[in-house]
């Protein structure tokens, strides 16, 4: 709840969506009657085929667009355009929720990596020394020292994603929203990303990831929300249950009928799953 100074207080429910629908101008809706509660410290994956409305849902969660019907509450307060126009509310909300865009080029708009990472802390009016300390420590933590003076056009896809993540982590948000974070990344960078997300979750962050990459779901989700091509929630449950439900995954067009899950177990007893496309 917001107190009389407009500052958001800690709540157990981070987001609460009631009957949320969204349509762009007079187009057919891209989200229909979404009801969703996100709890503090949860890691959620929003699973859905291309065009199912995952990105739109995430933009609504980040207060970038507003539902055409229904209500959204963030930290117990209405996440409305009017509230976000309030300086105190907006600053508090932006500090608490970080959004990593699918298109890293849209997110990297500064002349070099160092300034990109400094952008968020600067908007939050941290003193110059504080900004520098924060930027330098996140650069060190994510191993970006060699990139810090590089302009964005001289970064590879994986490096861009790392910098985008660093630029959002520099704000130290308690909720992290990621849109298709593994798109275009090589397997090694994907693993790096999954490990970062696991660490952040262990540190108590709430993580909401939209993806259609089934290989990473088990590692980064306590709960999976499945959106279908009719733009409604088709199913909700823990990752094991959802990923085992082949019928559901075929129905929402996430896999074809010849896809199969394979589970590999290493010598240390740890296993991981991935999906293959072949006939049996």
């Amino acid at each position: 709840m917001a107190d009389n100074t407009g500052v958001l207080e800690p709540t157990e429910i981070v987001f609460e969506l009631n009957d949320v629908s969204y349509s762009y101008l007079n187009e057919p809706p891209v989200l229909k009657n979404i009801n969703l509660k996100v709890h503090r410290g949860e890691q959620i994956v929003i699973l859905g085929a291309n065009g199912s409305g995952k990105s739109t849902l995430q933009k609504i969660l980040d207060g970038l667009i507003f539902p055409t019907a229904g209500t959204v509450k963030a930290f117990g307060c209405d996440l409305s355009e009017e509230n976000l126009n309030d300086r105190q509310f907006s600053r508090d909300f932006r500090q608490r929720v970080g959004f990593i865009f699918q298109n890293s080029d849209a997110q990297l708009f500064s002349p070099n990596v160092w300034e990109e990472i400094a952008f968020g802390p600067l908007q939050l009016d941290l003193p110059k020394g504080g900004v520098e300390a924060r930027v330098n420590s996140i650069i060190e933590a994510l191993g970006l020292q060699s990139l810090k003076d590089r302009p964005p056009y001289k970064l590879s896809g994986g490096e861009k994603k790392k910098v985008a993540i660093a630029s959002v982590l520099a704000i130290n948000p308690e909720v992290l929203v990621l849109d298709e974070p593994t798109n275009g990344l090589d397997p090694r960078t994907q693993m790096w990303l999954v490990e970062v997300l696991i660490k952040l979750h262990q540190a108590g962050k709430t993580i909401i990831t939209a993806t259609h990459n089934l290989d990473i779901v088990k590692d980064i989700a306590d709960r999976v929300i499945v959106l279908n091509e009719e733009h409604v929630i088709a199913a909700e449950g823990n990752s094991e249950t959802i990923l085992r439900d082949r019928e559901l995954l075929i129905r929402v067009n996430l896999i074809g009928e010849h896809y199969h899950e394979h589970r590999h177990t290493g010598e240390d007893g740890h296993g991981h799953s991935h999906y293959h496309h072949h006939k049996h």
């Binding site: 500090q95 298109n103 160092w114 952008f119 908007q123 939050l124 302009p151 056009y153 704000i171």
Partner: protein, 318 residues
């Protein structure tokens, strides 16, 4: 793979098309607009990489704080505008060449970059002033001799049209002054990274938001150049035979529309990304500039050198 039923039969036939056994027939395609555009974009990118390398190398000017560099170059530009004698300007130019040398700028590249264009543009502008009918003076070379003054409309030409000593000296002074000024500007830009130079503009009270927009423009030009290269390369890879002019014009116009559309959607997304990180419309930017002893030494040195040139020019005028 399971998709065979959806693939049309003709796509499953493997005919050996093209690559005639008798080899090349010796008729070469002309370089078309596709290759030209791709090469031009590549050239721009190559230039920017080269400039970036120069700007980050460990030369004399590269080590000066960009704000000091900007102010001192502005001061030297003022000195260039104030001096009135060719020897002083030549001296100033030699000093700039020395700075370029110590800043690891290849001298031939630097000289060519400035002097390939100046004679054309400034030369054309000052050309009439070398003749006696614009600027009377002591004749050096007689061009045309009429037996009596000629009247062309409202222009009255003298009996003899000649190049004058005063005209030539004046034109030389202007060309040299432009050359020195442009050399200073080129030296400043090639020894500084664009981002830093734009930030340094704030010492002249340029608003932060203006600097921020310039920085973003510069950053996204590269992204859009890549989009254009991809578009043209994709078209080239599918070009069989020589296209007609009409087709090419259509491709370019559709391409312009596509790039505009992409830029528009990108700008919306960038704005969202900025808002998401707390941007409220008020530009808050920072720099990592640190004033060092060498910056102060540099500023004092340039101040003294400027005074020496101005003093020398005054002495020459006596």
């Amino acid at each position: 793979m399971g998709y065979d039923k959806n693939i049309p039969g003709w796509l499953l036939e493997n005919k050996q098309a093209g690559l005639c056994r008798c080899g090349c027939i010796g008729i070469r395609k002309k370089t078309g607009f596709l290759e030209k555009t791709i090469n031009d974009v590549a050239e721009v990118l190559k230039e920017s990489v080269f400039s970036e390398q120069l700007a980050t190398s460990r030369g004399m000017l590269q080590n000066v704080d960009p704000r000091f560099k900007l102010v001192t170059v502005a001061y030297l530009l003022a000195v260039t505008a104030l001096v009135r004698h060719i020897p002083t300007l030549v001296g100033l130019y030699l000093f700039i060449l020395m700075l370029a040398h110590f800043s690891r700028v290849p001298l031939m590249f630097f000289i060519k970059r400035v002097w390939l264009f100046i004679p054309f543009f400034t030369g054309i502008v000052v050309l009439p002033s070398i003749f006696n009918f614009i600027r009377p003076g002591d004749p050096l070379i007689n061009i045309i001799s009429f037996s009596h003054p000629v009247k062309l409309g409202f222009i009255r030409l003298p009996e003899v049209i000649s190049v004058t000593k005063q005209g030539l000296a004046g034109a030389g002074l202007i060309i040299l002054r432009v050359g020195v000024s442009v050399s200073l500007a080129v030296l400043l830009t090639i020894t500084s990274r664009w981002g830093e130079l734009l930030k340094a503009l704030r010492v002249f009270f340029i608003p932060k938001i203006f600097v921020m927009v310039l920085e973003m423009t510069y950053r996204y030009i590269f992204l859009l150049l890549t989009v254009i290269t991809d578009m043209f390369t994709a078209r080239k890879s599918r070009s069989i035979g020589e296209g007609t002019g009409k087709e090419s014009r259509r491709f370019v116009s559709v391409g312009i529309g596509n790039v505009f559309g992409k830029a528009y959607f990108l700008s919306e997304e960038i704005h969202e990304a900025m808002i998401s990180r707390g941007y409220t419309g008020e530009a808050k930017v920072t720099d990592r500039f640190r004033i060092a002893v060498q910056d102060i030494v540099w500023a004092i040195m340039i101040l003294i050198i400027g005074i020496i040139f101005l003093g020398g020019d005054l002495i020459l005028g006596r």
